[in-house]
Amino acid sequence: MIITLTDQPFEPGALVTAFCADRQETGAVATFVGLARAEKGAATALELEAYPGFTDSAITTIAQAAVARFALQDVHIVHRVGRIAPGEAIVFVATAAAHRREAFEACDHLMDYLKSRAPFWKKEHGPDGPRWIEPTARDRTDAQRWDQET
């Protein structure tokens, strides 16, 4: 399991190559890449803030729980912090499992968590100045889907 916070741009494809390499018993790798949108010019940059030592530890805890819950063979999470230009990757999640249902559900679950509950604070810069982005109602209900199951 690898959990990384980085203030440098990263290339998701290279992570996929490494994650898929030398797997003899993995049938399924699901990945998600979150990219910064230009919003047709309304967003010139995103700025992500984390709490070092707290944010990475919180993500590690949720990733360990996902490994147990979804019988994962491996997880890789990379999250950008700092200033992010449109088109750049913000977040990368990869899950490996024997079968596809577990890989998909774990990836979906981890993204819901990262979007609405992980300790990040996100500011969008645009022509009208910066504004803080907080989870949408949909982000919250998406995350709650996983609470209702046992």
Partner: protein, 79 residues
């Protein structure tokens, strides 16, 4: 002296991100911050704002030692 950290919109609002505050418990620390900046004092008790003491989320009051780190965390949003 506890080390107080503000994140996200709380840091923008206060105009600082980190400050040393002398307080023996969290309630006293909140009162001290509100005394200096009443708007910040209100923002820190608003719905959705969590408090972490030494990187653990706490609810209610708690004693603070000299080396304590107190972080105020507005609603979180990653990805």
């Amino acid at each position: 002296m506890a080390k107080v950290l503000l994140f996200g919109r709380l840091a923008d609002q206060a105009g600082w991100r980190q400050r040393e505050v002398d307080a023996s418990d969290l309630a006293t620390l909140r009162a001290s911050l509100a005394d200096t900046d009443p708007a910040l004092g209100e923002a820190l008790v608003a719905a959705g704002v969590q408090v972490a003491v030494d990187k653990t989320i706490v609810r209610g009051d708690i004693a603070l030692t000299a080396a304590t780190e107190v972080a105020f965390l507005p609603p979180m949003s990653g990805g």
